[in-house]
Every structure is written in C-alpha cells, then in structure tokens.
Subunit: 136 residues, 2 copies
DNA sequence: CTTGACTCTGGATCAAGCTCCACGGTTTAG
DNA sequence: CTAAACCGTGGAGCTTGATCCAGAGTCAAG
C-alpha cells in the first residue's frame, strides 16, 4: 500500500487534516492526485514534506519562507539561477539565529548556575547576554 | 535627563509607540510612572527591557515566553522556587532549537555545495537533513 | 494665546496560521 | 442495505501580535 488518504497522511505527519488542506491552498504541498470520487491520495514523499514543514515552522520560519526553502530544494534539476544566492542568504539568516540563541543560552546557563543557593546576581544575566549591544 | 516620554522610548528601542503600550497591557513592560498629566515616563532600564523583548521575539519566542523569561530574570531576589526548573526547561528548549537549526544549516550548506555546476543531487539534502527521523 | 507636535484611552482592524462548520457525497464493516 | 466513519468545498471564526483611529487633553515655541 503506497497511496493513502488525507486522514492517514495527517495522522502520519501528526498535523490536523484541515492543516493539510490549508498547506495545499498555500502551495506548501502540491496538488495531490485524486481518485474518481475526488478524494485526495498521498504517498510517503508527502509525509516527509509535511514533517519538514512542521519542523521548519517550529524553528520560526514563516510559511512563505518554508515554501521558498522547499522550492529551492526541488529546483535542483532545473536551472541554477539564483539558487545558490537564495540558499546562501537563508544560511546567513540561520547562522544569525543560531548565534543569538547561543547568547540566550549562555545567559540562561549563567542564571541557572548562579542561582542554586539563592543567588547573588545583582542584575539579570539574561538581560546582560542580549541587552548589551544595540543593533538588530 | 534620565526620564523620558513614550515617544522617546519607542525611538530609542526602535519599536512603534503603539507596541510599547501593547506590551504594557500584555505585562511585558511594567506600569510606568506617570506625570501629573497622565503622560508615561520611562528610563534607560525600560529601553534595555524593550530591546531584550525585540531580540527574543526575533528568535521566535512568543510574548508569553518572553514574559516568563523576564519574570525569571527579575525574580532573583525573591524565592528560588521553581526558578531553576523553569530556567532549565527553557534551556533544553533552546538547545533543541539550536540543534534543529544546525541540521537545516548542514542541509542547506550541502545544497549550496552540491549545486555549483548544476548539481547531481538526486533528492533534496534539506529534506534529508530534517526529514529523516520522526519525533517532534 | 495659538499652533503644531505629543499623549491618553478604548476599541476597531489587520495579517498569519490555523481551526471549525454545514451540507452533502463516499467507503466500508457487518 | 445501512450505519459509522471519511472526505469534499467554501467560508466563517479564532489567536497572536500588532497597528490604527477618533475624540480629547497637554506641552513647548513664538
């Protein structure tokens, strides 16, 4: 059995059925095959794709971003127009996110480390970690 | 001059005035002092706090999360009840985010690396990077 | 005092991302 | 054949995070 229903897809990828249809509308998922009755049919590829979307979303990417990531990754057998450029921009964006998260992380760890007894921190290490410099 | 208006605060922290009032309503900012006229008064501490919020938001934290991070960091001179636990949970969350981002990063880098000419990737490295295992 | 720039409050409105609903056809187990 | 469980469509509704607006008071410069 390699084809299954929308409900099955939703279950396998752990998202709501309505969400699947919503993603289809938003072009994050391709138009699926239909059987005579009009029922949608999916395969494992769709499950993978949906899971990818779920993860990317969890990382704070907007659906639009995810769509472009997906396009990016599936364009490979077409031209290599601005592909690299777009991918590299994404990459820089991700690096920045990681760096910022690591700052927060350090701040939090310090908070945890300094607090055990009842703490002597005179002002918040988290605020310090992120609040120090301006910039965006 | 150590006290200033809401407009000035907004300018210094680079957010909209309405956003400042909105954050106040949502308890991310404390109730500010008021002058006789009812005008709000702020100081540098508020600027720092606001900037912190802006950054955390940029990392994908929900306002509610940010509020709790903030509470966490300002609770230090109160009890150390579940502080550590909360902070550690946050920390684990952040570590997970970083790990996931790094996966995407690797996938993207591979995409960039493999594509230069016109690529021979038979299926998306990004999907591979994130799509492999189940879990949340 | 007048004018223009600010500020106040409360509520309406927005965009994103879902989620729910009604009404009607389809499948499938018994 | 029939009931229960699914699925389809289109559109309304909800949550989050802002943003905008009206009507009215305040401030600072000239």
């Amino acid at each position: 059995m390699s084809l299954f229903s929308i409900g099955e897809l939703a279950r396998r990828a752990d998202v709501a059925i309505d969400t699947v249809r919503y993603y289809e509308r938003r072009q994050l998922l391709p138009q699926p095959k239909r059987r005579a009755s009009g029922y949608r049919q999916y395969d494992d590829e769709d499950v993978r794709r949906l899971r990818f979307i779920r993860r990317a979303k969890g990382l704070g990417f907007a659906l639009e971003d995810i769509r472009s990531l997906l396009d990016l990754s599936l364009d490979h057998d077409h031209g290599v127009h601005g592909l690299r450029a777009r991918a590299e921009a994404k990459l820089a964006d991700i690096d920045a996110r990681i760096a910022q998260l690591q700052k927060v992380r350090r701040g939090l760890r310090q908070l945890v480390a300094d607090c055990p007894g009842s703490g002597a921190l005179d002002h918040c290490p988290i605020l310090a970690a992120l609040g120090a410099k301006e910039s965006s």
